[in-house]
C-alpha cells in the first residue's frame, strides 16, 4: 500500500470512528445485563421478573415529579412479579443521597455514577423508562414523564406482561 493511500485509509477510519456512536437499545432486543456495569447499590433479583428500569437524575425536574407516581405503582404491583428499578445517572453521591432521603421511594435505586449503562442504552431523554419482560427482552420505551398518561400506559403494559405465560 502506497503512503498516500495509507494516510487516506487512516483518515477515513478516524472519520468513521469520530462519527460513530453506540447503538440505541431497540424494542425486541435483550436489555443489557445490569450486573456488568458496576452500578452502586444493591441490585434486586430480576430473574423471571417484569422489570421497569427508570433512568433519572436529581437535577431533572420531571424525574422528581415521577417519583411519587412510580412509588404508588411499585406498591400497587408489589408481589406480582414486577420490579421497578430506578437508575440514577448522577455523577456525585451527595445530591443522590439527599434526594433519596427526601423522597424515600418505594422501589430500589442504584447509581450509574460512571454513566456506562446509560451510555450503552443511549437514553433519549431524562427521564426514560424501559419495560423489560420476564425473558429480559425490551418491550417498550417511555421517554419523559407525562404525569397520569405515562402512569396509565405503564400500568396497562406491565399488567399485560405480568399476564403473559412465563
Amino acid at each position: 500500500m502506497s503512503s498516500p493511500t495509507k494516510i487516506i485509509t487512516g483518515l477515513a477510519c478516524a472519520l468513521a470512528l469520530a462519527a460513530s456512536a453506540p447503538a440505541e437499545v431497540k424494542v425486541g432486543q435483550p436489555f443489557p445485563q445490569l450486573a456488568g456495569f458496576a452500578l452502586e447499590g444493591a441490585l434486586p433479583s430480576l430473574e423471571g421478573q417484569v422489570v421497569l428500569v427508570d433512568f433519572w437524575a436529581t437535577w431533572c425536574a420531571p424525574c422528581k415529579a415521577s417519583f411519587p407516581a412510580y412509588s404508588e405503582l411499585a406498591r400497587e404491583l408489589a408481589g406480582r412479579g414486577f420490579v421497578l428499578l430506578a437508575v440514577s445517572v448522577d455523577k456525585t453521591r451527595g445530591p443522590y443521597d439527599e434526594f433519596l432521603k427526601r423522597f424515600a421511594p418505594a422501589f430500589p435505586t442504584v447509581r450509574d455514577g460512571a454513566q456506562k449503562l446509560v451510555a450503552e442504552v443511549q437514553v433519549p431523554a431524562m427521564p426514560t423508562s424501559y419495560l423489560i419482560d420476564r425473558h429480559g427482552v425490551l418491550r417498550s420505551v417511555h421517554s419523559g414523564f407525562h404525569g397520569a398518561d405515562t402512569v396509565r400506559s405503564l400500568r396497562e403494559e406491565i399488567i399485560r406482561l405480568l399476564e403473559e405465560k412465563p
Partner: protein
C-alpha cells in the same frame, strides 16, 4: 492537484471538523440544568437588562416595556 492529494485534504479537513464536534447527551446535562444557568435568576439584573433593552430597542417594544426610548423612566 492530484486526486489522492485532494481526497487527503478533504478527509483531513472533515476529520478536524468532526473531532471538534460534540453532543451533550441527555444524561450529561446536570450543569446545564443548574439554577445558575438560568438567565432570569437575578431579579435586579433582569430589571436592569429590561431597562437597557427598553432604552435601546424601544421601537421593537423593549421587551414588553412601553415608552419612548429615552431610557429615562
Amino acid at each position: 492537484m492530484k486526486s489522492p492529494r485532494l481526497l487527503l485534504l478533504v478527509l483531513a479537513g472533515l476529520t478536524t471538523l468532526l473531532a471538534g464536534c460534540t453532543t451533550v447527551h441527555p444524561w450529561e446535562r446536570a450543569a446545564l440544568a443548574d439554577y445558575a444557568m438560568r438567565p432570569d435568576r437575578d431579579p435586579v439584573h433582569n430589571t436592569m437588562m429590561e431597562h437597557i433593552y427598553f432604552s435601546r430597542e424601544a421601537s421593537s417594544g423593549g421587551r414588553g416595556v412601553g415608552g419612548s426610548g429615552c431610557g429615562c423612566n
